[in-house]
């Protein structure tokens, strides 16, 4: 990277730090103003946002609203409503031995934070963290992905217009810019993306002891329990939701999209039949599903499909249009478990269906894979549900639907193990970008001299009682009425 560009970046970071040190991001008024500015941005620039998302990903505006713009409006309103509560110190209990004293946990901003977002939900993954970082009183640098350039430009053009341009900045560019940014010291970094880059980000952060949060992905399994369906309607509803959780989520390019399905052998035919017919109804034309983000990912996905051991398992779809970067919804049945499509995160519109003898076997199958961001299961069987919760580990578990957990802002959103660490959404976003400072206030009135040297056995005895909260014995001993 040229020294001129590096210098510019340095100036950007300095400006953010000066804005924060100046103190204005701390006030409630500033935070509210930014959040209101964001709301105005989302409302007034909705058409431009839809256009950017359509250009970058072929996202239909309904999907764009449902998954990005609409959720962001809801989150921003939620933050505005809850801000006072989130910022308030929390009083905590103080043991009697410390009387008189008060103790509180006081949230404070971390300072200047960096948010790396991803290309697949480019608006949502940039602005949802921004809401939290601002609500928490930080100055923020936002680095959108260069793989969704129209959205990156949309953000660069509008954030400064609607928000405090010297305390909230958008930095555009590719991997070199990301690397340069990580040369600087941040007070927190949130990274959404792939494990490979996450390792580099965390390693760079360790040089400055910068705490990080990593939102990664994984192969999110969907267990379809054909036995525990009450009716054909249940099956239809499940299939609707599976389709929504796969192809309606940016054509499967979502960290919480269903990656693959597990089903008992005997129910596979019914599932496949209903999937096929519903797909026809939901996607009469190509433009109701997003396209593949770029040529590199298109090639990656076609390699997954064209693998000679995998190609025979394609049951439905498989047609690819390289010019329009479009791959039609594709279903595979039992591709080899060691093929790339079953070992890598698919992140595309290909759905492998893996059959098992008994549905309970799917639990061991899921456990053998790295922990994903989400586990899904369609079943009315409470015992199976309990086993799934207890025996598998993932960021989240959703029963009888997919992806919707994203919109419940009372729930923490984040991974575990290979799917990452750190959680946000709702109050968790505020917490992610805050330091919870422990504050204890004491008076001078009561002095327990037994705290101080010179030590002797009687002092220790008194302390034993106190530390066991045996105040009665303490008082007696103190008064010399007990040995």
């Amino acid at each position: 990277m040229g020294t001129e560009a590096a210098g510019e970046l340095g100036a950007t970071v300095r400006e953010l730090r000066e804005a924060y040190e100046g103190g204005r991001t701390r006030s409630v008024a500033w935070r509210q103003a930014q959040l209101r500015g964001l709301l105005r941005l989302l409302r007034e620039e909705e058409a431009a946002a839809f256009q950017a998302l359509h250009r970058d990903l072929g996202k239909h505006y309904a999907e764009a609203y449902r998954d990005e713009v609409g959720v962001l409006i809801k989150s921003t309103n939620g933050a505005l409503q809850q801000l006072g509560k989130w910022m308030a110190p929390e009083r905590v209990w103080v043991p009697l031995i410390a009387w008189p004293a008060t103790a509180q946990v006081v949230p404070e901003p971390l300072g200047v934070v960096l948010v790396f977002s991803c290309w697949n939900v480019p608006l949502g993954l940039s602005l949802e963290p921004l809401i939290g970082a601002i609500a928490a009183g930080n100055a923020v640098a936002l680095k959108p992905s260069e793989l969704s350039p129209c959205t990156a430009k949309f953000l660069a053009d509008n954030i400064g217009k609607y928000m405090d341009a010297s305390a909230v900045k958008v930095v555009q560019g590719g991997p070199e810019v990301g690397e340069q940014l990580m040369e600087h010291r941040w007070d927190k970094v949130l990274f959404t993306g792939s494990p490979r880059i996450a390792r580099a980000v965390m390693a760079a952060a360790s040089r400055h002891l910068t705490p990080v949060a990593l939102e990664l992905g994984g192969k999110c399994p969907c267990i379809f329990d054909g036995d525990a369906m009450a009716s054909a309607r249940d099956v239809q509803v499940s299939v609707n939701r599976i389709i929504a959780g796969k192809w309606s989520s940016c054509a499967g390019q979502a960290c919480i999209a269903i990656d693959y399905v597990l089903v008992e052998e005997r129910f596979a035919p019914v599932l496949i039949k209903v999937l096929k017919s519903t797909l026809k109804r939901f996607f009469p034309e190509a433009d109701h599903m997003a396209r593949i983000v770029n040529e590199r990912h298109f090639k990656r996905l076609s390699r997954l499909l064209k693998d000679k051991d995998v190609a025979p398992s394609v049951l439905h779809g498989g047609a690819m249009d390289a010019n329009n970067l479009y791959i039609e919804p594709t279903i595979l049945l039992n591709p080899p478990l060691d093929s790339a499509i079953m070992t890598e995160e698919i992140f595309g519109p290909l759905l492998p269906i893996i059959t098992v003898k008994k549905i309970e076997d799917s639990i061991a199958f899921v456990k053998a894979m790295p922990k994903p961001l989400a586990v899904y299961a369609f079943t009315r069987d409470a015992a199976l549900r309990r086993r799934i919760v207890d025996e598998t580990s993932s960021g989240s578990v959703t029963f009888n639907d997919a992806v919707v957990q994203y919109a419940i802002d009372g729930l923490p959103f984040g991974g575990v193990g290979q799917s990452g660490f750190g959680q946000y959404h709702g109050k968790y976003s505020f917490d992610m970008f805050s330091h919870k400072k422990a504050v204890m206030k004491r008076g001078y009135l009561v002095e327990l001299s037994l705290r101080y040297p010179p030590w002797d056995e009687s002092k220790v005895t008194l302390m034993r009682y106190l530390y066991r909260f045996n105040y009665f014995a303490f008082v007696l001993s103190f008064l010399g009425l007990r040995r």
Partner: protein, 482 residues
């Protein structure tokens, strides 16, 4: 390499134990915690002896600062275990109606705890308490700089807790590096920033989350309107009464006004005389410096050219015993080494300013410490201190004691670390809070699904905005058909 093989073996064994599900039931966790309680009670004499060998720690400090804190930590965990393990219901909101949502804590798996030498019993066992309460298998790597305590822990833990799930691995740099190269589900490190960076960079390779409990220069600001005698006692207690200043939350240096400094100095001298007598090097109530490396380091801090003539009290040392007397220094230059590095010893510099508010600038010019202290009765000053000084924790009119409150998170910020523990925070540090959503098959909102139409979008918008009419429409399956 032997160390590598040992590390891999420990991890593999614990992984198998964890996978077997042994550590999950509340009964197992409670049994381990009770084992630790028994250990602290039955082995009090041995623990005090090890601490005396490692640090010449007075028995009172060993009991009050280490053993009793481990005991209360175990009891707190035992008392709250069921509550912590119970899922928390969360309102699911209208968007996904009808549905139920909850957050459930699950163990991360197999975790690594690396502890420090200054409170070698407490800082080893306290994190392990949290790890066990959260249902994990644990490897503990005690500090080799406190060898007697390390050996004692290696001997005692297998006798009091389930050795198939809780292992102690002793050793120095090669053994620690070998452990760090393995993949853990969390790493909890207590120590200094230099090694903290190394731990985090190892963790990055495996995307392992970390808690780093580091240190810093904990400032004490002393205002002139305080009860001087009590303040001096509390400062002295937090400094020399905590392992002779070798504690991450010990007052590192004092800032006070030029006019108040002489009074403060006098008060401190009187208190020190009372606590440790005329010959502090002979007082059994003073810990020694942990080893000759640190002794020489501290000696060098005192002997530095611009600092040596600022010693106004104490300064004596005994290399044989590795003891340094409580030492006060007045107005050392801010660029001297003693003011640039964490002291971690019995030297207490007093910096003077013209107006007490200038102390904020001094503090904020340094990196964020683990704790900051203010002695004052001026509520305006206190408010400003709370607002403008960032630290892991803060106490007004006392020092160090916040770590005994299990309801307060104990951890740093910036250079003083990341993450927190104690009480519920210990459990949280070692648990994954899993979000769980139970949706019903009812409430099919066809507006969600393609093919998308303007009518569907209108309903979606209404639902996302919380418009009840739109919600009813959505749930009733408008705009009709699938």
């Amino acid at each position: 390499m032997e160390a590598v093989a040992a590390a891999a073996e420990a991890r593999e064994q614990l992984r198998a134990s964890f996978a077997s599900g042994r550590t999950r039931p509340a009964a197992w966790r409670a049994a381990q915690l009770r084992g630790l309680l028994r250990m602290a009670a039955e082995m009090e004499a041995e623990i005090c002896a090890a601490l005396r060998a490692d640090l010449a720690k007075p028995r009172t400090e060993s009991y009050v600062h280490e053993i009793s804190l481990v005991t209360s930590s175990c009891k707190f965990a035992l008392k709250n275990l069921k509550k912590w393990m119970k899922p928390n219901k969360v309102p699911a909101g209208m968007l996904t109606f009808p549905s139920a949502a909850r957050v459930s804590a699950e163990p991360l798996g197999v975790v690594l705890v690396i502890s420090a030498w200054n409170y070698p019993f407490l800082l080893a066992v306290d994190p392990v308490i949290g790890a066990i309460a959260a249902g994990n298998a644990v490897v503990l790597k005690p500090s080799e700089v406190a060898p007697a305590t390390s050996a004692l822990l290696a001997d005692l833990l297998p006798r009091y807790v389930d050795g198939s799930c809780v292992r102690v691995v002793e050793g120095g740099i090669p053994e620690t590096t070998a452990l760090l190269e393995q993949k853990w589900d969390k790493i909890f490190y207590t120590g200094n920033g230099k090694v903290g960076r190394i731990v985090m960079s190892f963790a990055a390779k495996h995307l392992t989350p970390v808690v780093l409990e580091l240190g810093g220069k904990c400032p004490v600001v002393v205002d002139c309107n305080v009860d001087l005698h009590v303040a001096a006692k509390r400062i002295a207690s937090g400094k020399w009464g905590c392992n002779s200043g070798q504690a991450c939350i010990s007052p590192d240096y004092i800032i006070t006004t030029k006019c108040f400094a002489p009074k403060l100095l006098d008060a401190l001298k009187r208190v020190l005389d009372k606590f440790y007598g005329k010959e502090p090097l002979r007082s059994p109530d003073l810990s020694r410096i942990v080893n000759s490396n640190h002794f020489n380091r501290l000696q060098a801090l005192m002997d530095e050219e611009t600092v040596a003539d600022k010693v106004v009290f104490g300064g004596e040392s005994d290399e044989q015993q590795l003891k340094i007397a409580p030492t006060l220094l007045l107005d050392v230059p801010l660029d001297s080494t003693i003011m640039k590095e964490e002291i971690f010893g019995p030297l207490l510099p007093i910096i003077t300013v013209d107006k007490i508010h200038e102390s904020f600038g001094v503090i904020n010019s340094m990196s964020k410490p683990l704790a900051a202290y203010l002695f004052s009765n001026d509520s305006m000053l206190k408010q400003q201190f709370e607002m403008n000084v960032s630290a892991g924790g803060m106490i007004f009119n006392d020092t160090a004691i916040h770590l005994t409150n299990p309801h307060l998170p104990f951890g740093g910020v910036g250079e003083s670390g990341m993450g927190a523990y104690h009480g519920t925070f210990s459990f949280d540090a070692f648990a994954h809070k899993k979000a769980i959503v139970d949706r019903s098959f009812l409430g099919e909102a066809t507006a969600r699904y393609p093919p998308y139409t303007p009518a569907k979008l209108k309903i979606l918008k209404g639902v996302l905005k919380g418009n009840p009419v739109a919600m009813v429409q959505a749930i009733a399956g408008f705009p009709g058909g699938a």
